[in-house]
């Protein structure tokens, strides 16, 4: 993106914007393909800011431990911060049920065949959450290291989990998602003692090669003391001032929260 005016013309494509062709009516445009998604994402962010909610998009491959990390986080911080979770999965509301068992609101989005959450899905889910009473909203994306990277949801921060059972070259294999992340959480690090093929330093080097100074911290969700750096990072993020959009009217809840928490997972008729 152009750093001067924010348009999409870059040195690599400028010539395309200057030439015409043939007898057809030529319409030159400068528009990101995901502009419609980005508009809704901006709208979501305005809602978060209007309510002082920090929104974190949690991404990883399937089974890296996103939900386990959230369970442990709620257990550790639930009495200090008001937390809620939006869960994204292709099917089942198993993860939302796990979160609700921790005593915090959770909305399950079941995407059917869609491989990622988008801003519209998150916006729909926001109607079912008591934003005015929240400090922290986690959006647990569909387990996938490819597709979620392309869709802004309106979050303030991206966090990507990398479990030590996956391989330390994941940042090199999936550069788009790891380049977009604000924090990499190495998960299941209590297994490192029995894994001789995962070197956290190699993972850090692959991350650094993406041209980012992205921090990487180690966690083991089943061992409370090992969560310290993650909880400290969260507290710092929560303490940091965020922009406020005072003119935005609050989202009107479509149904009482109590009903929503027991509603079946929503489904989408069409895949990705």
């Amino acid at each position: 993106m152009c750093t001067t005016c924010g348009c999409s013309i870059t040195p690599g494509n400028a010539r395309l914007a200057e030439t015409g062709s043939g007898t057809a009516t030529v319409v030159d445009v400068v528009q990101d393909l995901l502009a419609a998604n980005d508009r809704v994402a901006l709208h979501n962010r305005e809602h978060f800011d209007a309510h002082g909610v920090l929104a974190i998009n949690l991404m990883s491959s399937p089974g890296a431990g996103k939900t386990a990390l959230l369970e442990a986080t709620i257990a550790a911080l639930g009495d200090r911060y008001r937390i809620a979770v939006i869960e994204g999965d292709l099917e089942t509301d198993n993860d939302a049920a796990r979160i609700r068992a921790q005593g915090v609101p959770a909305v399950q989005i079941t995407t059917g065949t869609a491989c990622h959450l988008d801003a519209h899905l998150v916006h729909d889910a926001l109607h079912d959450l008591p934003l005015a009473g929240l400090d922290l909203l986690f959006i647990e994306n569909v387990g996938n290291l490819v597709c979620p990277a392309s869709f802004d949801l309106g979050q303030h921060l991206n966090v990507t989990l990398l479990s030590v059972t996956e391989g330390d070259d994941k940042p090199a294999k999936y550069p788009v998602i790891f380049r977009a992340t604000d924090l990499v959480v190495l998960s299941k690090t209590d297994l490192l003692e029995v894994l001789d093929d995962f070197d956290p330093q190699r993972a850090a080097a692959a991350l650094r090669a993406l041209g980012r100074d992205t921090p990487m911290i180690c966690t083991a969700a089943r061992r409370r003391p090992a969560l310290g750096p993650w909880l400290d990072w969260l507290k710092m993020a929560l303490a940091r001032p965020r922009p406020v959009s005072p003119h935005l009217s609050p989202l009107a809840p479509r149904a009482p929260l109590r009903q929503v928490l027991h509603a079946p997972p929503r489904s989408l008729p069409v895949g990705s």
């Binding site: 870059t10 319409v27 990622h116 550069p175 993406l210």
Partner: protein
């Protein structure tokens, strides 16, 4: 396969442009896709072949321009082409770089048949 979602967004944008100008059909669509956009051009073509059916772009040609990844070092100022998973400065090897090109995902031009 998020390219289906991206392609749907593309066709919506193109349909809006065609409708605003009273076009009878869309002849050609130019888009740009960089390696760091997270979108695979081949997958996007497959999606386009399916989703364009019945739309104003049913007969349209999709031209995809793939851009190179070029980074500029914020320390030494050098610009260098590089791989999507190695965004380091080609001159000094530093990691403090900015992507100059390579993350584009945009509609650039639409050619319409008006009459």
């Amino acid at each position: 396969m998020h390219e289906l979602s991206v392609c749907q967004a593309l066709l919506t944008q193109v349909a809006d442009i065609a409708a605003a100008r009273g076009a009878r059909a869309v002849e050609r669509i130019f888009i740009e896709v960089g390696p760091l956009s997270g979108v695979e051009p081949a997958q996007l073509r497959s999606a386009f072949a399916v989703l364009r059916a019945g739309s104003c772009a049913a007969e349209a040609i999709l031209s995809i321009e793939s851009t190179l990844v070029i980074v500029r070092c914020t320390v030494c100022g050098a610009e260098s082409p590089t791989a999507p998973n190695r965004l380091l400065c080609g001159e000094c090897g530093g990691y403090r770089t900015r992507v100059v090109t390579g993350d584009e995902l945009c509609l650039r031009r639409v050619e319409l048949r008006i009459t």
